[in-house]
Symmetry: D3
Subunit: 180 residues, 6 copies
C-alpha cells in the first residue's frame, strides 16, 4: 500500500520537512471521513447521496499516485491525456474495475464526485491550516487559494440550493471549531 509512504509534494515544496509531510494515504483517510460526515448531513437533511460510491471515490481518488507519484498542478496541466496515465496506473494495481469511478471523478458531474472534490479541498485546507499554525508560512498562499476554490464550489454545484446550504454550514462549523 504504497500511498502510506508517499509524502505529498505540495507540502515539501513549501518548506514542510518530509518527516512531517502528510502522506497520500493520510490525506485520503481524512477525505473519506469528511465525506462520511458531510454525506451523512446531506442524507439526514433529505438529500439522496450514494454513500458507498462516495466513500469508494474518496478512498481511491489518489491511488494512482502509488504508480505515478504526486504530480503538481502545473505539470498535470501539461499532460495531454492525464486520465490515460491514471487508467494505466489502475491497471498496474489490478484495479481496472474502478476506472469507471475515476472517469466520474474527472467529470465531477455526479453529486458523489462533487462531494468528494469538496472534501478533497476541505481536507487540504485543514491540513494547510495546521501547517500555517506551526510556522510554515509558505503554505499560507496555498491555504488561501484552496479556500477560495472551496468557496466557489460551495456556491454552485450539481446539488439543490438547500443541499449546498447544508454543506456550507457544515464546512463552516468544521473550520470554526478549529478541529485540528
Amino acid at each position: 500500500m504504497r500511498v502510506k509512504n508517499i509524502a505529498r509534494t505540495g507540502w515539501m515544496m513549501r518548506g514542510v520537512p518530509p518527516s512531517e509531510s502528510e502522506t497520500v494515504a493520510a490525506h485520503s483517510y481524512e477525505v473519506a471521513v469528511l465525506a462520511l460526515v458531510l454525506g451523512g448531513k446531506l442524507r439526514s437533511s433529505g438529500f439522496a447521496v450514494d454513500i458507498e460510491k462516495t466513500l469508494k471515490l474518496a478512498l481511491l481518488h489518489d491511488i494512482a499516485e502509488s504508480v505515478i507519484g504526486d504530480i503538481v498542478k502545473a505539470v498535470k496541466e501539461r499532460i495531454p491525456n492525464p486520465r490515460a496515465i491514471e487508467v494505466d496506473a489502475l491497471r498496474e494495481l489490478g484495479m481496472e474495475e474502478y476506472a469507471k469511478l475515476f472517469e466520474e471523478l474527472e467529470l465531477g458531474s455526479s453529486a458523489e464526485a462533487y462531494l468528494v472534490e469538496v472534501c478533497d479541498n476541505l481536507a487540504t485546507l485543514l491540513q494547510a491550516i495546521r501547517y500555517v499554525n506551526r510556522g510554515y508560512t509558505q503554505v499560507l498562499e496555498l491555504a488561501e487559494s484552496v479556500r477560495r476554490r472551496l468557496e466557489r464550489m460551495l456556491t454552485s454545484g450539481p446539488l439543490p440550493g438547500e443541499a449546498l446550504a447544508v454543506l456550507r454550514r457544515a464546512v463552516s462549523d468544521l473550520l470554526i471549531s478549529g478541529e485540528v
Copy 2:
C-alpha cells in the same frame, strides 16, 4: 483529525522508531481499502455485503483513539467496560450517532463487522511483514500471532462456507503477491 498523528503503540513497543511507525489513520486507510477490495470480491461471488456499512466501520473502528490513545490488548482486557470509554470518546468527538456501529464491531456478529475485523488483522499483518523485512525482528512474534488469528477467523465466521473460501483465496493472493 488526531488519528493522523498518533503512532500505533504496538510498533513502537517492538522497536520501530516513532518516525517510522504507522499511524492510526494510515492503518485505518489500509483497512478500508482492503475491506473495499474483499467486499467487492464477496459481492461479485454472489454474497450480499453492505459495503457502505463496512466502509464506515473500517474508517471509524479506531477513531476513539483520538481521545483515549492506542491501548494495547493487555490493558484493554483489564478495563471492565471498554465500550463505555469508546462511547464517551465518540461523544467527545461529536460522533455519537456512530456508537451503534461500534456495538456491532464489538459483537462481531454481522457479516460487515466480521469483514472489518478480518481486514483489521490483515492490514496489521501486512504492515508487520513490512517491518520484519526491514529488520525489526521483535515484530516477528506479533506477525505470527496475527497470522494465526487471521487463519482462525477465515476458517469459521458468520458467512457461508463458500464466502469464507472466497475470502481465503483473496487473502492468500494478497499475502503471496508480496504487495507491500
Copy 3:
C-alpha cells in the same frame, strides 16, 4: 530498553508529529536530572532527602510503559487496579524488586515520591512550553493544566514549609531562565 522508542501519547494527541514527540526515556531522563538538581538544593538548605531513592523512582517511574504503553489519564482512571498492571509489567521486565518503590510513588507520601512527582510535572511543563513555542497550540491547554497542578503541589506537600519555599524558588528560576 523499549522506553527509548515509545513516543508519549499526550503529545501525539495534541498535534506533535511522532518524529518530534518526546519519548518516555527522554522524559524520564529530564525528570531524573531535575530531581537531582532540586534534591541537591533541598539538601544544601538543610533538608534530608534520600537522593538514591529519588533517582531510582525518577528513572523507573514510567518503566512499566515498556509493557503497557503510555496510557492517558482518562483511561487510567477507568482501570480498577492500575497498580496491579504496573506490578505485572515490572514482573515481566524482571524488575519485581522495584515494585515496593512503585507503591511509594502511588501513595506519594514520602518526601522522595513527592519530589519525583513535582519533577514529573515540571519536566512535562518544560516540554509543553517547548512545543507551544514551536506552534503546537493544542499543547497550551495541557501546559496550563500542568502548571496549575504544579503550583498546587508546591503550595502544600509532605515537606516543611521552608523546604517548599526552596522548591518554589528553584522551580521559578528554571521556568524564568527559559532554559529549554
Copy 4:
C-alpha cells in the same frame, strides 16, 4: 532552496519512509562530488574536461524540481515537451541564464553532460545500495536497472575509448570499496 526539502519520489514509492528518503539537494550534492572526483581522474589521465561546466550541470540538473516536483520516468515520457516545463521552472527561479546548460543536459552530447549523466546514475545506484542493505527490498529492482544503464553508458559514450576505460575503473573502485 526548496530542493533541500523535497524527498525523491522513487524512494518513497519503493518503501523508504519520507523521514529517511534522500532529498533532491542531497542527491545533487553527491552527483557534484562524484563529478568532481571522476572529472579529476579524467583530467589527470590527459583528457580535457570543463570542470566548471560539469559542476554547474551537476548542481543544477534537478533544480527545476523546486517548482515542478520530482516526476517519475513513466510520467515524464508522457509529457510532449518536458524541456519547456523545465525552462519555465528556471524562469520562475530567476535562473533563465542556465537554460542553455539544460539543453546540453537533454542532448547529452558533450563530454560534460555525459559525465554528469554518468554521475547521476552512479549516485542513484550508490544510494539504492544503501537502501537495499537496510532491508528496503523493493529498491533492488531499481538498483539493478540503474546498474545496467550505467554499464551501457560506460561502454560507449562521447569520450575516447581510454577515457571510458578510466571511468570504468574509477566507478568500479567506488562500487567495490563499499564507500557508503
Copy 5:
C-alpha cells in the same frame, strides 16, 4: 535540556539517519538504568557501591555535550586539556558543583566511576546491536570494538575479583537475553 535533542555523532557517521539516531539523553538514560541494575547486583552480592554517586555520574557524564556537542574520539585525543572544556561547559550550565564528579569520571579509579564507564560501554554496545540488526552494517565495526573494550574492562578493574565476576555474569545475561 539540550541533550534530549542532540543525536550521537557516532551513529550518524555510520549511516544511521538523524531521525533514528539515539540522542545523548536517551543514551544517558540507558546508562543510568543499567548502572542502577548492575549496582544493585553488586550490592546484593555484598560489595559496597555508592549508588547515589553512581547515578549522578551516569546522568551527567555527557551533559557537557549540551554546550560542546558530541565529539568523536579521534578529535578528543587532539585536545590538550579536554577536562578544561568540560568544566567550562559545566560552568555555563550552572553545574560547577558537579565538576568534582567529572574529575572522578576522568580518572576512573573509584568503583562508581568504573561502574559508570562499564555501563557507558554496555549501553553503546546494546544500541549498536539494535542498529546492526536493522541493517546498518557500518555499525558492526564499532560494536566489535566496544565489545572488546568492555571485555577488557570486565577482566580487570578497581573492584575485587568476585565483584568483577558478578558484573561479568550480569552483563552476559543482558547480552544473551537479547533485551533490545
Copy 6:
C-alpha cells in the same frame, strides 16, 4: 557519502529536532549553489573569479566532517592544530590532493576562498531564518551573530570595492526576496 547523513550540531544544540536538522551535505549544496550565483554576478560585472576552484572549495569545505564530525566553534578554538586534523581526515577519505585547497580556505586570502566563506555564512543565515520562522527561537541569537559576521565580511575583503558592492547588492536581494 557520510555527510549526507550528519545533522549539523549547531541546529540540534538550539532545539531543532534531528529529524529536521539540516545535514552537512544539504548545507554544502546550498553553499555551492550560492557560490555559483554570486560568482556569476561577479564575473558578469567584470571581476575575475575562478568558478571551478570556488565550486570545489564549496563542495568540499566540510567534507572532513565525514571523519571528525561537526565540531562547534568553542571546541575548534581549543584545538592547537585544527588543520592537521582536517588533512588527516582528507587522507582517510583518499582526498589528499584537495588538502591544498583547504589551506586556501583556512587562510581566506584568495578571492575564491573569500567568496566561499561569504556563501558559507549566507547559507547558514538563510537556514537559521527558516528555523526562526518555524519557532525555533533559540536559533535567533545565532542568526544575529552570523548576520553581523556576514556584514563585516561584505564591508572589507580581498576584492575591489565595486566587487564588494556587487556582492552586497546580491546578498541583500537574496535576503529580501525571502527565498526560503
